[in-house]
Structure formats: C-alpha cells, structure tokens
C-alpha cells in the first residue's frame, strides 16, 4: 500500500521542497549528497528565490544535479564551475548563482578557479561537498583523503611522504580577502544537519547582500567507496573527519 491515510486534525509539517524535482536521484542509498541537495532546495524555497537562481553542476557524482533542482542549471567541466559561475553571475547580477562541487572537483583540478573566484570577491555561493574521496570514478584518493585512508589509488593507506597531506579548504580560502563567508559544517547527524542548513541560508543571504564569495564546506559520506553502511559512514565522519577538518566559522562578513 502506498501512503496511509492521515488522522484528522494533523498538520503537514514537513514535505519535499518545491525546488527539488520529483525525479529519484542516482546517488547511492544513504549518500549525503541527497541531504545536501535537500538543504539547498529548502533554503531556496524559504528565501523564495527559485525563479532567480542558477546552479552550476560540476563533474562528480553530482554532475546530474541539474536533474534534481527545479531551477536554471548549467553543467561545467571538471573544476571549472567557479569560472563558469563568474561568467554567469557577471552578466546576470540579479540572479543568485551557486556552484555545487565535490572535493575531487574543487580541491584538485579546480583549485585555481575557486581561489581566484574568491580573490575576485565574486558574489557566488559555493556548496562544497567534502567526502574525502573521488566518488564517481570509483573511490580514488582525493586531496582531502585522510592520512592512512585506503582508497583505490592509495591501497596501502595514504602515505603522507609520497602522497601528500590533506588539504584544508575552508582554512585556506578564509585567508582570501574576497571571501566573505567561509564555514565548515557536517551532515553526520540531525543537530549538524540543522546547523548546515542555517549556514547554507546565510551563504545565500551573503550573496544577496553582495558581500563576496560565500562557501559552505559540508563534511559528507561516501558509503559505497568507504566500504561502509550509511550509518557507519556517518559515524566515520564524526570520528575521523571532524578531528582533521574541524567544524566552525573561518570567515564571517565584516558587515554587521
């Protein structure tokens, strides 16, 4: 049976946001991309800006984000979303332009583009989904992979001497004057998801006020490539990722 009848007198207090299309996603069961998409859609709904929002989807598991958001969308080459978004925003200054990028995209091939979009103080919002791995291509090491973490291209665990150190993107970008709002949140439990949503809302509001680049880094899971259940993956974020990538506010707008 599909949906049970509701008791008389109850109020619907939560349903799927309008800014999400009715299309079932291709993401793995338990993947936090779904939560991140939902939060962005809820914020767009609450701000009432669906008709003036343009998203840019990168290469990565979320390359098909344009199927799931009910707003104008462009698909970017790997790492190039901040440059593409710059072009889009500069000629559409009244639209809200956001990019939605993974760590393999933003922190690797896209490092120059994100740093310079921040340096130019572009009025963009960047949703940065950090799950410490390349998901779409089958679980290779990413710049944000943790020391000792096993991936398909660090099969013995990430060796810092030959494979380098995890990149702390929020800390890095917070040093840039043109970056107005840089925060790191997590999606591993209800409390943190609610905090993440608040941050995403502020990020969009920072763009509305034209204060510069806003970025919300979301510690996320990849149950499939981490070889864990969805539940265990969320626990791994809390136990292993948060100590390396501390949650907090790294840059706040100067304006009161």
């Amino acid at each position: 049976m599909m949906i049970a009848p509701i008791e008389a007198g109850m109020t619907l207090v939560y349903q799927r946001p309008d800014t999400l299309t009715p299309v079932p996603t291709h993401y793995c069961p338990g993947c936090t991309h779904g939560i991140a998409h939902r939060l962005v859609a809820e914020v767009i709904d609450e701000l009432g800006v669906r008709e003036q929002t343009i998203g840019v989807a990168p290469v990565g598991c979320s390359v098909f984000a344009y199927r799931y958001f009910n707003c104008d969308f462009a698909q970017a080459a790997h790492g190039r979303a901040p440059a593409m978004a710059t072009g889009l925003k500069r000629v559409n200054p009244d639209q809200l332009v956001f990019t939605y990028q993974g760590d393999g995209d933003l922190a690797s091939i896209g490092m120059a583009e994100i740093i310079h979009a921040a340096a130019r103080g572009e009025n963009l919002t960047v949703i940065f989904v950090n799950n410490a791995i390349y998901g779409m291509t089958g679980g290779q090491m990413a710049p944000t992979t943790l020391a000792g973490q096993r991936t398909t291209s660090s099969p013995s665990g990430r060796d810092l001497t030959t494979q380098g150190y995890p990149l702390k993107i929020s800390e890095l970008l917070s040093q840039i004057d043109g970056a107005a709002y840089v925060v790191r949140r997590s999606l591993h439990d209800v409390v943190n998801i609610k905090r993440a949503k608040k941050a995403i809302r502020i990020a969009f509001e920072v763009q509305q006020r034209g204060l510069g680049l806003s970025l919300v880094e979301l510690l996320s899971s990849c149950p499939t490539n981490w070889r864990m259940t969805p539940e265990a993956a969320l626990a791994w974020i809390k136990d292993e990722m948060v100590p390396v990538y501390p949650l907090g506010d790294f840059k706040l707008p100067k304006e009161a």
Binding site: V13, P24, T25, T32, G34, I35, A41, V190
Partner: protein
C-alpha cells in the same frame, strides 16, 4: 497520536538512516521492495508514540518522508 510519517515508495532507497535516527525506534525496514529493488522503510507505531519530531525527515537523503504533527491551536 501527535505525529505521523509517510514514505514515498518511488523515492525510498532503504538506506535505513531514518530507522537508526528515530528516537522511538518506530521505523523499520519492511519486507517489501520498491520497483527498483530497494527494501522499503515503514512506520510501525501501534502505540501512537510518534511525536512528529521530523528527525527522520532531517536525515533522509531522498526527501522521501512527509511528517505530520498535531499542532495545538494558538
């Protein structure tokens, strides 16, 4: 009953995050599968213990849950 949830069968992937997060343990993996082969989740609430806290919906990556709650009149 002060709360109730429904699960959209076309969206649920049986990831069971809602099952683990429900503070009252009212959600369970069902014995039924969706047309895509995912094991469905269902609400089992014989004692009407659901408060409509919406923690399940907060965790759901598919936005497959609808949450109902008895809201007291002002």
């Amino acid at each position: 009953m002060t709360g109730y949830v429904t699960i959209d069968e076309s969206l649920c992937k049986g990831c069971a995050l809602c099952v683990t997060v429900c503070p009252k343990g009212l959600l369970q993996l069902a014995r039924r599968f969706t047309s895509k082969g995912y094991q469905l989740v269902e609400l089992i609430d014989p004692a009407s213990a659901c408060t409509g806290c919406a923690m399940c919906a907060t965790l759901c990556p598919e936005a497959a849950l609808r949450v109902y709650r008895t809201v007291k009149a002002a």
